[in-house]
């Protein structure tokens, strides 16, 4: 059941993004920026945690979750260290993903050449 919910919730988020792409003149990069921002706003409104409770990875894997992770990190750090947390909590929360992205990006560039 949780796999089906992940499929449906994740799939629907991608459908929403695809419709924005097809019905407007913006590029996929613009859609990614839009959805990561929407994720942050939804998180602040308390809407993204319920989506994760329903969809699991269907809500965790799509990019809005990146905005959500930043906001939740800020809220957590704010609770611990006060207003400084506003500026440290976000990137702290996504440090793992960003570091893996940069390191594996470099590694793949060293190992592989583009084809076609």
């Amino acid at each position: 059941m949780e796999f089906l919910l992940a499929f449906v919730v994740g799939g629907l988020l991608c459908v929403a993004a695809q419709l924005v792409l097809d019905l407007s003149r913006i590029t996929p990069a613009h859609v990614m920026v839009l959805f990561v921002s929407l994720g942050a706003v939804a998180s602040g409104l308390g809407l993204y945690d319920p989506l994760i409770r329903v969809g699991g990875a269907g809500a965790i894997v799509p990019l809005p979750a990146f905005g959500h992770a930043l906001v939740q990190g800020i809220i957590r750090e704010f609770g611990k260290v006060g207003p400084t947390g506003l500026l440290t909590g976000g990137l702290t929360a996504v440090a793992l993903g960003l570091t893996v992205a940069v390191v594996s990006g470099l590694l793949m560039a060293v190992l592989f050449n583009p084809r076609g």
Binding site: E2, A6, C14, V41, L70, V100, G105, P114
Partner: protein, 148 residues
């Protein structure tokens, strides 16, 4: 590109085939859903190892990023992207793809201004605006007295 006059623009619009919106939507649903289902396996695995939801989510995202990077390196992800549209680009694996694809392509321009700079062509704006909006959201919650 030279901006086309109105007549030419009309001609371009009439000659451009309409976007297959319904087909694109179905493909985005299937590809995006499938990628998230793979993510659910990892989430279940890390939860089973006793990680709390927040940590398990972060490790799942990192695992999917690594997977997306490897599949891009192998040339597989570009094929998924051509079929899946936003179904391939909205998942975090698409974020990894956006980093690795230009990193490989611009290797010939060197490792500093080629790989190092170009890997953030798309990832850069995503990070910039995610940081901006999240700080604004945090500041707003603070002003409202919702956090602290």
């Amino acid at each position: 590109m030279v901006p086309a006059d109105r007549e030419t623009q009309d001609l371009i619009r009439r000659r451009t085939p309409p976007r297959p919106i319904l087909l694109n939507t179905v493909r985005a649903f299937l590809v995006g859903g499938a990628i998230c289902t793979i993510g659910q396996f990892f989430l279940g695995f890390f939860r089973g190892r006793g990680l709390p939801l927040t940590e398990a989510s972060a490790v799942t995202a990192a695992t999917m990023i690594f997977l997306g990077a490897v599949l891009t390196g192998l040339g597989v992800y570009d094929r998924i992207g051509r079929r899946g549209g936003m179904g391939a680009f909205l998942p975090i694996t698409g974020f990894a793809n956006a980093i690795v694809a230009p990193a490989m392509e611009f290797k010939r321009e060197g490792f500093v201004l080629g790989v190092g700079a170009r890997m953030f062509t798309v990832a850069g704006p995503v990070i910039v605006y995610a940081v901006l909006v999240s700080v604004l959201v945090g500041a707003f919650l603070w002003l409202l007295g919702a956090i602290g």
